[in-house]
């Protein structure tokens, strides 16, 4: 039985994460944009640890830096740290009930924001706008749906594969 997800689902999903990063939203909402790329990486790190690792996170982060115009390496650093944390706690995270997992993802995203803030402060850009702290909350609300959606897609593609 092939346990790995199809490459299309994995990389196509990550590409959609990149698109979601720059897709135009009404002014004001763009600050609270959920960090979909991080959530997708998080899911694949939990479900397909053989295919996705720190390297994938790093490359995805570099691509995100290019696309969204952040400092080259900023999101790469953030995503590598996130990936490391997920890898570290993977055995526990995987068997959490969904709502508890969502809480854990919320904590991860919040930590990611903190690192973001630290990088910004170091680069001399000062404080992030307050609305950007809503982004982890939106991520928290989205996680269960994202998880169920990706699980459904992955299982279907696996059924088709066998």
């Amino acid at each position: 039985m092939n346990r790995g997800p199809s490459g299309w689902l994995l990389y196509g999903g990550l590409f959609c994460g990149l698109l979601a990063m720059v897709a135009p939203l009404p002014a004001g909402f763009d600050l609270a944009r959920p960090y979909l790329l991080a959530m997708l990486l998080c899911y694949w790190l939990l479900e397909a640890p053989d295919r996705v690792g720190l390297g994938t996170a790093f490359l995805a982060g570099l691509a995100a830096d290019l696309v969204s115009g952040t400092l080259l390496g900023e999101q790469a650093l953030r995503l590598v740290i996130l990936a490391f944390l997920v890898q570290r706690f993977r055995p526990r995270l995987r068997f959490f009930p969904l709502w508890q997992q969502a809480l854990a993802v919320f904590a991860l995203l919040l930590n990611d924001r903190l690192i973001d803030q630290a990088i910004h402060a170091t680069a001399g850009d000062g404080l992030l706008p307050w609305a950007s702290w809503l982004s982890p909350l939106v991520g928290f609300a989205l996680w269960p749906w994202l998880f169920l959606l990706l699980d459904g897609l992955r299982l279907r593609s696996r059924e088709r594969g066998t």
């Binding site: 039985m1 346990r3 590409f15 990149l18 698109l19 720059v22 897709a23 135009p24 939203l25 002014a27 763009d30 600050l31 944009r33 053989d50 720190l54 390297g55 790093f58 982060g61 570099l62 691509a63 290019l66 696309v67 969204s68 115009g69 952040t70 400092l71 080259l72 390496g73 900023e74 790469a76 650093l77 590598v80 740290i81 490391f84 890898q87 570290r88 055995p91 990088i119 910004h120 680069a123 850009d125 000062g126 992030l128 706008p129 950007s132």
Partner: protein, 310 residues
């Protein structure tokens, strides 16, 4: 066994993987510093940001489709009304333009009398804004014109209201512009009423500019219009920048800090004008010509007029 296919947990999973983590963190940090200091990473970024263009194109496409559909579906009546309105505006603007041309010529003549050095002509070009949101903590926009269309680094952006920002990154088909209100942006301005010069810094908010270090005796009031002073040569002189909204003393009580509202519509326009200074008679001249050249050219032209004035 419940999971016959799961690989046995690797012992290295926990402790061993800190080494790659540290390696990646180090690479990322080096890249960030390189990008921030304008070193190799900034140059590499210039080269490979071409790769980001398809993503921008895709991200902006839903809006493009929507716009196209609305254009297709708009009725004849509304088109006619719009046409009528545009024609009226065009007439008004054309008459204004004629008056301005006359003023401009007079101005040029007076400058020549003074032996002025500002004999540049403005080069302008229209560019569309691509509808993508870059990193929201920095204020930048992506334009759909690049070096292939003649966009140059440092060109100023204006819209119907006033100065919008300047070009900071150019790729063959796109360019990135830094907005006036970004925290890293500063623009030399002048109070239109009194001629007081100051520098307007971005605050990170789309509706605020900050003008610190104005002397207590400086002639500035709430409601004053700010225009570009042209000092530094990057922004052409005389374009509206904003309106002063409030004045208060700074912490030392020695200077006044003014806050201004930008004149340009920074939130979401559709098209902007790229302007740069150019020497008369040269279309593709450098954006920052050395002062002696135009002076020499004008000296020939203006040889006759100054004499009667002396």
């Amino acid at each position: 066994m419940a999971y016959p296919n799961t690989p046995a947990p690797r012992l290295t999973d926990g402790a061993g993987s800190t080494l790659p983590l540290l390696a990646y963190l180090a690479i990322a940090t080096v890249l960030m510093v390189g990008d921030l200091r304008g070193g190799f990473a900034a140059q590499a970024r210039q080269k490979i940001s071409v790769l980001a263009e398809p993503v921008w194109w895709l991200a902006a496409s839903p809006n493009r489709v929507f716009d196209a559909a609305r254009e297709q579906l708009s009725t004849r009546a509304s088109l006619q009304a719009e046409n009528e309105q545009l024609r009226r505006e065009l007439q008004v603007n054309a008459s204004r333009l004629h008056r301005l041309l006359a003023v401009n010529e007079e101005n040029q003549r007076l400058r020549e009398l003074l032996g002025g050095t500002r004999g540049y002509r403005l080069n302008a070009r229209l560019a569309g804004i691509i509808d993508v949101d870059l990193d929201p903590s920095r204020q930048r926009i992506v334009l759909d014109a690049g070096s292939a269309q003649g966009v140059q680094l440092g060109q100023a952006l204006i819209d119907a209201g006033g100065v919008l920002g300047q070009v900071i990154e150019v790729t063959p088909r796109h360019s990135t512009a830094l907005l006036l209100t970004d925290t890293e942006h500063a623009i030399p301005v002048q109070v239109a009423r009194s001629g007081l010069r100051a520098i307007a810094y971005g605050t990170g908010r789309t509706d605020r500019l900050r003008l610190p270090s104005i002397p207590q005796s400086g002639d500035i009031q709430v409601g004053d219009r700010l225009v570009t002073s042209g000092i530094g040569g990057r922004f052409p002189a005389g374009f509206p920048v904003g309106v002063v909204e409030s004045l208060q003393p700074d912490e030392t009580q020695l200077f006044v800090v003014a806050e201004a509202r930008p004149a340009a519509r920074l939130d979401r326009g559709v098209e902007v004008l790229l302007v740069s200074n150019a020497i008369d008679g040269l279309d593709d001249g450098p954006p920052l010509p050395e002062p002696p050249q135009p002076q020499a050219e004008e000296a020939d032209d203006a040889a006759t007029p100054p004499e009667p004035s002396q």
